[in-house]
């Protein structure tokens, strides 16, 4: 099986793609600036459990390594906004971002809210020379489009992995006779488990647990479906905006119900999918239905039966056959 990197590649708006790359580096600068209020906490003398990108901090006096990482990141992010067309600058930004996120995750626990920008910054190292001057129809534009598709695919693959894990776990739970994600009380259990673990509360969570499970039952299996299908959506421009919206709603929902917040991912989904340079100029429901992962097969059969002029009315599937 090969990966359809070039599928509908010509749908990419070159200007939109160039704008998107610049917007990403502006966002990296925003991340650096947003960390300024935490500077005191970040550089405070404290015991860290350094993960590998910041292992060298052990050799410096306490607090000094964190100061270098933070100001290095701030400086690199500024360079990234000014000169994103230069490979060396993009490399410095990717490494500085890696160091900064590693520092933030060196307190005994790894959080995943900042992983996506790190992965995207490394994919952007593959941008072609002169990407910022690319004209539609040129080889340079094609390569720019390919790299953007790569960034979208990497981002969406992480969601598919999460969905596949839930699906696998559900099948295991079903086999073991346990409550799974497909059980009406599955979502209620996930919520209760999370809120008891964190000691947090949410009015939405309380409402869901207090009402019959079947009312909110579709939420978890639905989330598993569009998480699993996310990586396929990367290669189908007609699905970009729909999947972007679904995943953003998913993050907002997990924030409101489970108190799990991924604001950085929400922004990147809005940038790369809602604002996808591959997106069609208009929202075509029929096209979306024919592109849905797995479910498109049902739509194709249904539409063939509904719209095919070759099927006589008296045959199964033909117009009017349902009345017999």
């Amino acid at each position: 099986m090969s990966i359809p990197w070039t599928r509908d590649l010509d749908a990419c708006s070159v200007g939109g793609a160039q704008w998107l790359v610049r917007a990403f580096y502006a966002f990296v600068l925003y991340l650096a600036a947003q960390a300024l209020p935490d500077l005191g906490g970040l550089t405070r003398v404290r015991e860290l459990q350094e993960i590998w990108p910041v292992w060298w901090m052990e050799w410096l006096p306490p607090g000094q390594g964190a100061t270098i990482v933070f100001f290095g990141f701030l400086f690199a992010a500024l360079l990234g906004v000014l000169f994103p067309e230069r490979f060396a600058v993009r490399l410095v930004v990717a490494l500085a971002l890696l160091e900064y996120v590693a520092l933030r995750n060196s307190e005994g626990r790894i959080s995943h809210s900042l992983h996506l920008p790190v992965l995207v910054s490394f994919v952007f190292l593959l941008l072609p020379r002169q990407w910022h001057l690319a004209q539609p129809g040129t080889e340079s534009a094609r390569q720019l489009a390919l790299v953007l598709r790569g960034a979208q695919a990497v981002m969406l693959l992480t969601y598919s992995m999460s969905g596949l894990a839930k699906l696998g776990a559900s099948l295991y739970e079903l086999a073991m006779g346990q409550v799974s994600s497909f059980h009406p009380s599955g979502f209620q259990r996930v919520i209760a488990g999370r809120l008891l673990e964190t000691g947090s509360s949410s009015p939405f969570a309380q409402w869901i647990i207090d009402h019959p499970g079947w009312l909110t039952w579709p939420l978890l299996p639905g989330a598993i479906y569009f998480q699993c299908g996310a990586v396929f959506a990367a290669f189908r421009p007609a699905l970009h905006q729909l999947w972007g919206l679904l995943l953003i709603v998913f993050h907002l929902g997990t924030g409101l119900i489970l108190t799990i917040h991924f604001p950085v991912s929400v922004f990147l989904l809005a940038l790369f999918l809602l604002g996808s340079p591959f997106r069609p100029t208009s929202f075509d429901v029929g096209r979306v239905l024919t592109e849905l992962p797995l479910l498109s097969a049902f739509w194709r059969v249904a539409s063939r039966r509904m719209f095919s002029p070759n099927v006589p009315a008296s045959l199964p599937g033909g117009p009017g056959s349902a009345s017999h």
Partner: protein, 181 residues
């Protein structure tokens, strides 16, 4: 099964796309583009492959398994750190450290929560608890003197949520002294 079937390519739409396509098929892609596709495939495989390895052997930052909330909690085993004494104040019954005012800087922090679970697991499995306690010390509002109890909780999440019912067992008591400077 080929990639078109798996990725749901709409074959009917293909001829029109071929007509409109400015660069994809009329000229063969350059060697650079072919190499680029290979590099992107490697990147995608790395995210997937190292993510799976992370699931088994622990996270290889910045890759992750992304196995977040995969399991539906059935019977939960969790740990709680309860203050028995802290800076002269006695707690009867012992109170969760996250509920004692001015004991932790950020009682609701997920890092603190994970640290407490690590302390609990290490205590129960009788492995070295010192590294987790050293990091836990960084999260205290101010260092002090006291006694903490490590408690194991077992519960069904829905039942505990609705009735408060759970099983609690004290595993150990940890005397706490200010760090030597």
């Amino acid at each position: 099964m080929n990639s078109d079937e798996i990725f749901g390519h709409n074959r009917a739409a293909r001829p029109l796309q071929e007509e409109c396509r400015p660069f994809a098929t009329r000229q063969p892609p350059s060697a650079f583009s072919v190499r680029l596709e290979t590099k992107l495939t490697i990147a995608l495989c790395a995210v997937f492959g190292l993510g799976l390895v992370s699931a088994v052997r622990g996270e290889i930052f910045p890759f992750a398994s992304w196995f977040l909330f995969s399991r539906v909690p059935q019977q939960v085993t969790a740990y709680e750190l309860r203050a028995v004494e802290w800076n002269g104040a006695k707690f009867d019954p012992p109170s969760s450290v996250t509920a004692v005012p001015h004991l932790l800087r950020s009682p609701q922090s997920s890092t603190v929560r994970d640290l407490i679970q690590r302390i609990g697991r290490a205590t129960e499995q009788k492995t070295d608890v010192a590294p987790a306690l050293a990091v836990f010390r960084q999260h205290l509002h101010a260092d002090g003197r006291g006694i903490f109890a490590v408690v194991r909780l077992k519960y069904d999440p829905l039942e505990r949520w609705r009735t408060g019912q759970m099983e609690a067992q004290e595993l150990a008591r940890l005397p706490w002294r200010p760090a030597e400077r």
